[in-house]
């Protein structure tokens, strides 16, 4: 069983991971990896994007654990390093994160013990770091300053989660790294992490296997702007150019990375509010983050054809560049990967929001008796905490994700998805549900409470999506 470890660094990493989870919930599948192990690296533990992604990941795990052998929706197994190394699996959102020590309520100057270093060293430090850098609180990240990030992030090798990563890594496993080149955490974290993995010097198990493993990465060039504030988005491009030059010399030319993806959009992008970090940093989902998630699928597809001794560089392009993108504007491989899953899961998500109320206790598939052959999808199920706090919560987050994608620049909202929330469509789904309920396999265990609902909607949404 091969695993794909995904290191998501900084706010962009979290947002790409969110798009990846949404695609996987919808049924997009990896071909050459059985398990996905997301690892988020972000010192800003209060970051809105980070917490939203952890919440989504945790919710995904809870739902998946209650489905017997998922086939489409929630098919991909997403797990944590903790569950891979522990005999008692648990589902906790903190397990998706590398916890950085001493970044909470600590200033950068305290972190580097500035007050205790001698004058000569202090002069060097003053050359490398501005007064604002030294006074900056680390609990809200590096605020677009990779020079700070490169110091603080060095510590993640000592973390327990990194040890577990080494412990669980096997011969056939791969690694993928997500970062942005124009911020602070991602720009600093990627070269550091890659160097650590490739050098074979990390104090973890299997470091020799990790050293020679397949590693891919997606690096984001600027794709949004910020309103005037502490982080200057005017500096994004300059920082990106400098970092690209550095990456080119130290990563690509020296063949440290097997597959390097670049993504960016300078022309047609959004301007977000300027939040230096914390819970206010919760940017709307963006098409480029979805494209980043697609690059992970591309990396997975190419696993068998990539030469482990070589470096490949990829860029992402669309077939037609328009302000509002549709699946038809993507290339064939991406279109085939997400077209049906997005349509079908959108049907399911909209139904979970406002379709089921008409059917409960009325439609055959929600009534349990001798004649209906329904075993567990009853009013009690729809009233249960599991349905409300897991399925409904996840599908609501999915719809918000879609809405954010559609409202951003460039927008991405497939035409067909707009048709998935009408009463006529809900009626078609209910008819299909009635017709298919007797063909749904019984859950393996009683705890697989979502099994019947998910399997039923996999069938009915597949039938109805062809009528859209």
């Amino acid at each position: 069983m091969s695993k794909l470890y995904i290191f998501a660094i900084g706010g962009t990493g979290s947002r790409v991971l969110k798009s990846l989870v949404m695609l996987m919930a919808a049924g997009a599948k990896l071909k050459n990896h059985n398990q996905v192990v997301p690892i988020i690296i972000d010192p800003d533990s209060g970051n809105g994007d980070l917490n939203r992604t952890k919440d989504i990941l945790n919710n995904y795990q809870h739902i998946r654990s209650k489905i017997s052998s998922p086939e489409n929706f929630f098919f991909q197994d997403i797990t944590t390093t903790n569950n891979l190394t522990s005999s008692t699996p648990r589902f906790q959102d903190k397990d998706f994160e590398f916890k950085l020590e001493r970044v909470h309520q600590e200033k950068f100057k305290d972190y580097i013990h500035y007050s205790t270093i001698d004058k000569h060293d202090a002069d060097i430090v003053n050359l490398l770091f501005s007064k604002e850098n030294l006074e900056a609180n680390l609990n809200i990240g590096f605020k677009g300053n990779p020079n700070m990030g490169s110091i603080v992030l060095n510590q993640f090798t000592d973390s327990e989660a990194f040890q577990r990563f080494g412990q669980s890594f096997n011969q056939d496993d791969s690694i993928f790294i997500i970062n942005s080149i124009f911020g602070g955490t991602g720009a600093a974290g990627y070269p550091l992490l890659l160097k650590l993995l490739r050098s074979g010097t990390a104090r973890i198990q299997n470091r020799e296997v990790i050293k020679d493993s397949l590693i891919g990465a997606i690096t984001y060039l600027p794709y949004f702007k910020l309103k005037d504030g502490e982080i200057k988005s005017q500096s994004f491009l300059g920082k990106a150019k400098a970092a690209l030059d550095y990456y080119n010399r130290t990563i690509i030319d020296s063949k440290q990375i097997n597959a390097q993806y670049f993504l960016g959009d300078q022309e047609n992008n959004t301007t977000y509010d300027n939040h230096v970090g914390s819970k206010e940093q919760k940017n709307d989902s963006h098409f480029l983050e979805l494209a980043g998630a697609l690059s992970i699928f591309d990396f997975d597809r190419n696993k068998t054809s990539i030469d482990f001794k070589d470096s490949y560089v990829y860029e992402f392009g669309v077939e037609n560049f328009v302000n509002s993108l549709d699946t038809k504007d993507l290339n064939e491989a991406d279109r085939n990967l997400i077209f049906q899953p997005l349509n079908e899961f959108s049907l399911f998500a909209n139904y979970c929001k406002s379709g089921w109320q008409n059917a409960v206790g009325v439609s055959r598939w929600t009534i349990k008796n001798f004649w209906t052959k329904n075993r567990g999808i009853t009013k009690d199920y729809f009233d249960s905490a599991e349905f409300k706090n897991e399925i409904q919560k996840f599908t609501q987050l999915y719809l918000e994700w879609l809405q954010e994608l559609g409202g951003n620049k460039p927008g991405f909202l497939p035409q067909l998805i707009k048709k998935t929330s009408t009463n006529e469509i809900f009626k078609l789904l209910d008819i299909s549900n009635c017709e298919e309920i007797s063909n749904i396999p019984q859950p393996r265990t009683k705890k697989d409470i979502h099994s019947e609902l998910i399997k039923l909607f996999e069938k009915s949404t597949s039938i109805v999506s062809h009528k859209l």
Binding site: V362, S363, R364, I367, K427, D430, I431, C434
Partner: protein
């Protein structure tokens, strides 16, 4: 069919020896068979459509199933009315008012009997048809 209707004639006191010839004519011209087949066929057809072609996932006992039953009973009654009137046409126009009255009374009685039979048959046939229905097996209750 004749046996069933003869039994019902006795139960409801419809039979009258003085008008034996009318009953003989009905038997001879197959009116009993037509009446029987009509209510069975109409009820079967309507419930078949309800259980296999009417795909309303939100159908309930009331009004959907009850309306289906009522429709099958009314259509059966109308068909019976037409069949019996046709079978007894010459007696309905008879100059003897006693004969015409009895013929009219027979039309009403058979119409009412078939209405009731359609209701009973509708309930029974529902239990069988629902077994094969995909969308409405939970009805009538």
């Amino acid at each position: 069919m004749e046996v069933i209707y003869e039994f019902l004639e006795d139960v409801f006191g419809i039979f009258d020896e003085n008008f034996q010839y009318m009953f003989d004519d009905m038997r001879e011209y197959g009116v009993y068979n037509k009446m029987g087949i009509s209510f069975i066929a109409i009820t079967l057809l309507i419930f078949f459509l309800f259980y296999f072609f009417y795909k309303n996932p939100y159908a309930k006992f009331f009004p959907h199933w009850v309306i289906t039953l009522a429709m099958s009973a009314v259509f059966s009654a109308v068909a019976t009315f037409i069949i019996v009137r046709e079978g007894l046409a010459e007696y309905l126009l008879d100059n003897d008012p006693e004969v015409a009255d009895f013929a009219n009374q027979l039309v009403s009685s058979y119409t009412a009997i078939n209405f009731g039979l359609a209701v009973i048959f509708g309930i029974l046939i529902s239990q069988a048809l629902r077994l094969g229905s995909k969308v409405q097996p939970h009805l009538p209750f």
